[in-house]
């Protein structure tokens, strides 16, 4: 490992989210994302993945509120920023793609305009120029016939296409951080593969860091260098992807890996039971941190002589 480990794009420390004081949903989550890195966040439904992503963007809706911790984006404590400054970051420096491509786009506005809006708002372009840029953006997410498509309304596109449009919007201003919250869960497997590939490719090209939220271990394995596993509001484990799959440390992670039927694992002779999570993880173990949390910093520190 190199000693000149770059400064993280995003550094979340001890993030706590709750409804009021009494009801904590996130109990101190910490992680870093390095420039150009794709960081995965997996976990069961309701474990707090989405609200983590939303809080980075500053899109938490009342009654949810950040109750503690800090979020540093490119060294800047975004929680201390004013509303306006925060808004300027959004869409420009950090962007987000949501799960549901069906409803995430305004049904009454052409997609061209929805993309162009990014350039108008963040780059101060006129609508005309912005439109040209929007067509380029569409082209870059491999939408065929972008000129024509720009005039289409969301309902005229398939789910995969719409998700591409979402990605075009998110990446329009070449952000430094892309938060993708289950970007492909609503899509077909065949379509999903294409979309994921696209995200990976574009971000690699621009050096964009990605926070990929998913509960699909396959997707995570496909995309990410490092993975954090969330369970019941805590980050219970963090490892390099490969290491995680080979040597899951936390019982919950182990359970998760075991519960999934794997393609090609069935033989003609056997059809065994799948491992259920409850068999693997005692309920009092759920949501607890493992004693040693492996972070890139500590990896870096270990690597030093």
């Amino acid at each position: 490992m190199s000693s000149s480990l770059p400064d993280p794009v995003l550094s979340v420390r001890d993030l706590r989210i709750g409804i009021g004081a009494g009801n904590q949903l996130l109990h101190g989550v910490s992680f870093d994302i390095l420039p150009g890195e794709t960081y995965g966040l997996v976990g069961e439904s309701g474990s707090g993945k989405s609200i983590t992503g939303l809080s980075v963007m500053g899109l938490l809706k009342s009654p949810l509120a950040i109750t503690g911790g800090s979020i540093h984006f490119q060294g800047q404590d975004v929680l201390q920023l004013g509303k306006r400054a925060r808004r300027r970051l959004r869409g420009d420096r950090m962007a987000m793609v949501f799960q549901e491509p069906m409803t995430a786009l305004n049904p009454l506005v052409t997609i061209g305009r929805q993309i162009a809006e990014m350039f108008v708002v963040h780059r101060g372009l006129g609508w005309r120029d912005a439109r040209h840029k929007a067509v380029e953006a569409l082209e870059s997410v491999r939408v065929p016939a972008p000129e024509e498509r720009a005039r289409a309304y969301p309902h005229q596109l398939s789910g995969g296409m719409r998700q591409r449009v979402m990605i075009a919007i998110a990446l329009a201003c070449r952000p430094d951080l892309l938060i993708a919250d289950e970007p492909t869960t609503a899509l077909d497997v065949t379509v999903q593969a294409g979309v994921l590939e696209l995200i990976a490719e574009l971000c690699r090209a621009e050096g964009t860091a990605v926070l990929l939220v998913s509960h699909d271990l396959g997707v995570i394995a496909n995309m990410c260098g490092r993975v954090g596993v969330m369970d019941q509001g805590r980050l219970v484990e963090e490892q390099d992807t490969k290491a995680l799959f080979e040597n899951p440390l936390h019982p919950y992670t182990r359970g998760l890996l075991a519960a999934r039927p794997r393609l090609g694992s069935r033989t003609v002779a056997t059809r065994g039971r799948l491992t259920e999570l409850d068999d693997m993880v005692a309920s009092d173990e759920r949501g607890r941190d493992v004693p040693t949390l492996i972070t890139p910093r500590s990896v870096a520190a270990e690597a030093l002589p």
């Binding site: 420009d92 987000m96 305004n106 506005v109």
Partner: protein, 311 residues
């Protein structure tokens, strides 16, 4: 487009037929007749023999199936019949009232939309707050004041106390004359619109694409202007259409109060004098207006909402 209008126009026929039938049935059991209404003033100016002749002249001595058939037959030839009261063609009685009525309905709606929609927006942006409730109280007070009283209060205040506006009357080109009746007529749709808008905005603000717009870094005014408003409009449009559509027939009390030459007052007058052909004709006109407005609303949907699906 033309084909759509054609289809919708054809679809109006059964509705109109139902309306004619309903009115016919109701008024064949309603007590009191055109004849008795002529004698209602107690002036003894009418004579029973003459009235019997009248009955015959209007075919009222025939059995009801014949009358209904005659009416429908006339209707098929775009003939609304002869008014019992004026003995003119019904269309001639209705026609001069049409434009003032349309004007009043549109003006009332303009007022209702102009006040109600912003009010609804304001209330929805901070739902549940005292401010929201306050706005709704204002809106609802419009809804709970009998329009007669509201009209009178307006007259007293704006015409008599302030002397700003004429208190009554209709002048074809005059904007000033339409203001007070339009407000009086518009309060209740205004309240309704405020409420619909509030609900609509609340719905839209919860939509996923609004979150997307926020993630795009849009400032609140742009967010509302570019993304919320249009979508809310789709929701509001139905209410708006229904209101404009039914306003024409609802302006009864207001038209009377402000001496406005509209369809509504013609309708009650015809009901109270049992001038059935005019009642029929007026109701047909009102229903047609309603249907046409609804058709226009559907077209507007198609313009605003590219997803439009009818049927």
């Amino acid at each position: 487009m033309l084909r759509f209008i054609f289809r919708r126009t054809l679809q109006m026929i059964p509705t109109l037929l139902a309306v004619v039938l309903i009115i016919f049935v109701i008024f064949s059991v309603v007590p009191g007749s055109f004849i008795s209404s002529l004698m209602a003033e107690g002036r003894n100016a009418t004579n029973a023999d003459v009235m019997a002749h009248l009955n015959a002249q209007f075919g009222l001595d025939k059995p009801w199936p014949v009358r209904l058939w005659n009416y429908l037959w006339g209707l098929a030839h775009f003939d609304l019949g002869i008014s019992y009261r004026t003995r003119e063609a019904v269309w001639g009685v209705i026609e001069p009232r049409l434009w003032p009525s349309v004007k009043l309905a549109l003006a009332a709606m303009a007022f209702a939309a102009g006040i109600g929609i912003p009010l609804g927006f304001i209330a929805a942006l901070k739902p549940g707050s005292i401010f929201d409730t306050g706005t709704m109280v204002v809106a609802v007070s419009g809804l709970s004041l009998p329009e007669f009283w509201f009209g009178l209060l307006l007259m007293y205040f704006f015409a008599l106390q302030l002397g700003w506006l004429p208190s009554f009357g209709y002048q074809p080109g005059s904007f000033r004359h339409i203001i007070l009746p339009a407000i009086a007529l518009g309060v209740s749709p205004m309240a309704l619109l405020a409420r619909t808008t509030r609900a609509g905005v609340l719905d839209v603000m919860n939509a996923d694409f609004v979150r997307t717009a926020r993630a795009k870094g849009l400032a609140e005014p742009r967010l509302i202007g570019a993304h919320v408003t249009r979508n809310v409009l789709v929701l509001i449009l139905t209410t708006l259409g229904l209101q404009i559509g039914s306003l024409m027939g609802q302006a009864i009390v207001i038209e009377k109060l402000f001496s406005w030459p509209g369809i509504g007052s013609l309708l009650v007058d015809s009901v109270s004098t049992r001038d059935i052909p005019v009642v029929q004709g007026t109701v047909i006109v009102i229903v047609l207006w309603f249907l046409v407005i609804n058709m226009l609303v559907d077209i507007a949907y198609a313009v605003i909402d590219p997803r439009i699906k009818v049927d």
